[in-house]
């Protein structure tokens, strides 16, 4: 008896069922999620990203930050993800599919060689700009013993001509600090990357993701 049609049919059926159940389903349900209106702010959640932050996602992808950093907060009953950010205001909550609406691609991640960055931008905006650049420029000068790569290649070292640039990163130390008369300025890539990181905030109120209180 020729069982070939059975084999081919069975292979299609097993594959096709998972394809429908996981891929097509995700596409037609999660893929259609839209931002929801926020009564308090009058805006929508998740809020739109600035153009800089959108560009920053590309730099984040090109340099493989996602192989060390997740952006995924799991619920309190499963993990310490929420308990790790006790001071966050508003409190952090588990991340849900809609949180990734602005993401292209969605950097959920699968390893935590570095800390989770889902809420990195929380309460750190603006003032942290220079600190963040110092960190990216040479992490071990900011966090001793850090294993995060240095992203010096996203910065330009140049001779100061006339006035120092007001974009220059200040307070740099260590072997790669600029010599007197030189300054380190972020490239366009570094600027948009920083803008993206500071935009990371995944605790806007969403109907499907209420804030969990401590039990």
């Amino acid at each position: 008896m020729n069982r070939t049609p059975l084999l081919i049919f069975g292979a299609f059926l097993t594959f096709g069922s998972a394809w429908l159940g996981l891929v097509a389903y995700s596409y037609v349900t999660l893929g259609q999620l839209q931002p929801v209106a926020d009564e308090n702010t009058g805006g929508v959640n998740p809020p739109p990203l600035s153009g800089l932050a959108v560009a920053g996602q590309k730099v984040y992808a090109a340099n493989g930050c996602v192989y060390c950093h997740s952006q995924d907060i799991r619920p309190r009953y499963l993990s310490a993800d929420i308990a790790r950010e006790p001071e966050a205001e508003p409190p952090v909550r588990r991340t849900v599919a809609r949180d990734y609406f602005r993401d292209q691609p969605a950097f959920v991640g699968f390893l935590r060689i570095g800390p989770d960055l889902a809420n990195y931008g929380l309460e750190k905006r603006v003032a942290a700009w220079n600190d963040l650049h110092r960190h990216l420029y040479d992490s071990r000068e900011v966090v001793s013993g850090s294993i995060m790569p240095s992203y010096r290649y996203l910065y330009k070292m140049r001779k100061i001509s006339g006035q120092p640039s007001n974009e220059a990163v200040t307070g740099l130390t260590g072997p790669h600090a600029p010599a007197p008369g030189f300054e380190v300025v972020p490239t366009e890539d570094a600027k948009v990357l920083a803008a993206y990181l500071l935009s990371l905030k995944r605790n806007d109120p969403l109907p499907e993701a209420p804030v969990e209180t401590k039990e």
Binding site: T4, L7, I8, G10, A11, F12, T14, F15, S17, A18, W19, G21, L22, V23, S26, Y27, T29, L30, G31, Q32, A61, A62, N63, G64, C65, V66, Y67, C68, S70, R74, L78, S79, A80, R84, P86, T95, V96, A97, D99, Y100, F101, R102, D103, Q104, P105, A106, V108, F110, L111, R112, I113, S139, V143, G145, I147, M148, P149, S150, Y151, Y153
Partner: protein, 469 residues
């Protein structure tokens, strides 16, 4: 085993496959060395971040995905395609016609892998796991793949009459599944990306599918062929083969969701992933009983057949790796060990310990049959085996233990994040040293392969009758 007096038909089949299959194996061997080297560099950076730090193209976030892609698309997929073609031809006693097309397609595939790695290193990746190659590269790979796979299916269609052996089921299924996986995932995540919220489950479906529906079935096909063939006996049970194959096909495609527990997907998807991971234990057990049961009472044969040694070890690791997969899918376990080095250890176990191990066994078996030349240097094959097994074992154990400690640290809000890195570091250091040993083992394999190729090229005398492995 001595397969003396090979029939003219077998000779004809082997002659028709010589060039394409050897091209696949040769390029695979090169990518194995490249991939293992890049993996060793990446791991080193985790314990010694100053190492090669600075230039963009050497940064961890580019080297690590380059390593994984070199190993999955360069090494394992090329080797798997060569093995699949040879097995289908051999099983069906059908020669490969118009071999020039798969040869060209194989070269194009390799060129695609090369371009893709350059793109990752150059910063053109979108950092989606196993889909890092830019869209035009994955399109090249997809087209090249079709030309290769169609030849595999044609071989199957042209087979001599008779029952279809279990290996052929796995191969035909894998040849059909891969394009389904690769096309869907590229279409939805690379060529025309769907909105962010839908990406995580599709990505998880794809990355688990690459192992479960592509590499694993080819490795299982090879094991189902090689173990009884080398021992000169029948497979333990036909019914078990049937049960194993269909239950594996049914459950394996759904398991990927378990890793997203607590993540941004609907809860039922996670549940399906967990349940199917648990159910997958049934086919895994059935397949293992069938494979290892065939070995029953013949373990002495491992002494004289390196092919068998590699294949049976790979089959044993299959059981181990999939049992671990089931355990890692359990919600309580996943919650602690997801995001840790345990996953790296598990990935290495699947890719090196199971898939690569069986592929080595198959290549050691097939090449002498294609070239008519024995592997002179049996001692080196043993070196390859023990070094590989030892290095992988040490890397696996240390990454797993390190990852466990890391997981407990990450899940204790009282422990600073930096401590999780500190705890993992000594274990990662051991893994670096093992990765270097693994690199040496891969080099021995490549050396053996290319030395044999050179000898074949120099040789003018006709093929000897007897082939030994």
């Amino acid at each position: 085993m001595t397969t003396s007096a090979r029939s003219p038909q077998v000779e004809k089949v082997d002659a028709s496959l010589r060039l394409p299959v050897l091209i696949f194996f040769g390029s695979a061997a090169l990518w194995l060395v490249v991939g293992t080297f890049l993996a060793a560099v990446a791991l080193t950076k985790l314990v010694w971040p100053q190492f090669l730090d600075g230039p963009a193209f050497l940064t961890y976030g580019r080297i690590a995905p380059a390593a994984v892609n070199a190993l999955v698309y360069g090494w394992a997929s090329s080797a798997g395609l060569g093995i699949a073609l040879w097995l289908l031809a051999r099983l069906g006693r059908a020669p490969l016609n118009y071999a020039v097309l798969p040869v060209v397609a194989g070269l194009v595939w390799n060129f695609g892998v090369f371009l893709g790695l350059l793109a990752i290193i150059g910063g053109y990746s979108r950092s989606i796991f196993l889909l890092e190659f830019p869209g035009f590269v994955s399109a090249i790979l997809f087209v090249a793949y079709l030309f290769i796979a169609v030849w595999g299916i044609v071989l199957f269609r042209n087979r001599a009459a008779g029952a279809v052996f279990v290996s052929a089921w796995y191969l035909v299924a894998a040849l059909l599944w891969f394009p389904g996986l690769y096309f869907t995932a590229n279409a939805l995540l690379v060529w025309h990306p769907v909105p962010g919220p839908a990406q995580a489950p599709i990505g998880a479906w794809f990355s688990s599918g690459i192992v479960n529906l592509w590499l694993a079935p080819i490795a299982l096909a090879a094991a189902f062929y090689l173990i009884p063939q080398i021992l000169g006996r029948r497979l333990l049970s036909y019914n078990l083969s049937l049960l194993g194959f269909w239950s594996f096909a049914l459950f394996a495609a759904w398991t990927g969701m378990a890793q997203l527990i607590g993540g941004p997907i609907p809860a039922w998807m996670v549940s399906v992933g967990v349940v199917s991971s648990i159910l997958l234990f049934i086919p895994v057990l059935v397949i293992s009983i069938n494979l290892l049961g065939t070995m029953q009472g013949s373990y002495g044969a491992l002494r004289w057949s390196p092919s068998l040694l590699f294949t049976v070890t790979g089959a044993g690791v299959f059981l181990l790796a999939y049992v671990q997969g089931t355990l890692l899918a359990l919600p309580g376990v996943a919650a602690i060990f997801h995001f840790t080095d345990v996953l790296i250890g598990h990935g290495a176990l699947l890719l090196f310990g199971f898939v690569s191990m069986v592929f080595f066994g198959a290549i050691y078996y097939i090449v002498p049959r294609l070239t008519g030349r024995d592997w002179n240097g049996d001692g080196l094959i043993r070196w390859h085996f023990w070094l590989f097994v030892g290095a992988l074992g040490v890397a696996y154990v240390s990454l797993t233990f390190g990852g466990m400690v890391q997981g407990f640290a990450l899940n204790d809000p009282g422990v600073r994040f930096a401590s999780s890195v500190g705890f993992a570091t000594p274990f990662r250091l051991v893994a670096v040293l093992s990765a270097l040993a693994l690199l040496l083992a891969s080099n021995i394999f490549a050396h053996l392969f290319f030395r044999t190729m050179l000898a074949v090229l120099e040789e003018t005398k006709p093929l000897p009758e007897a082939v030994t492995v």
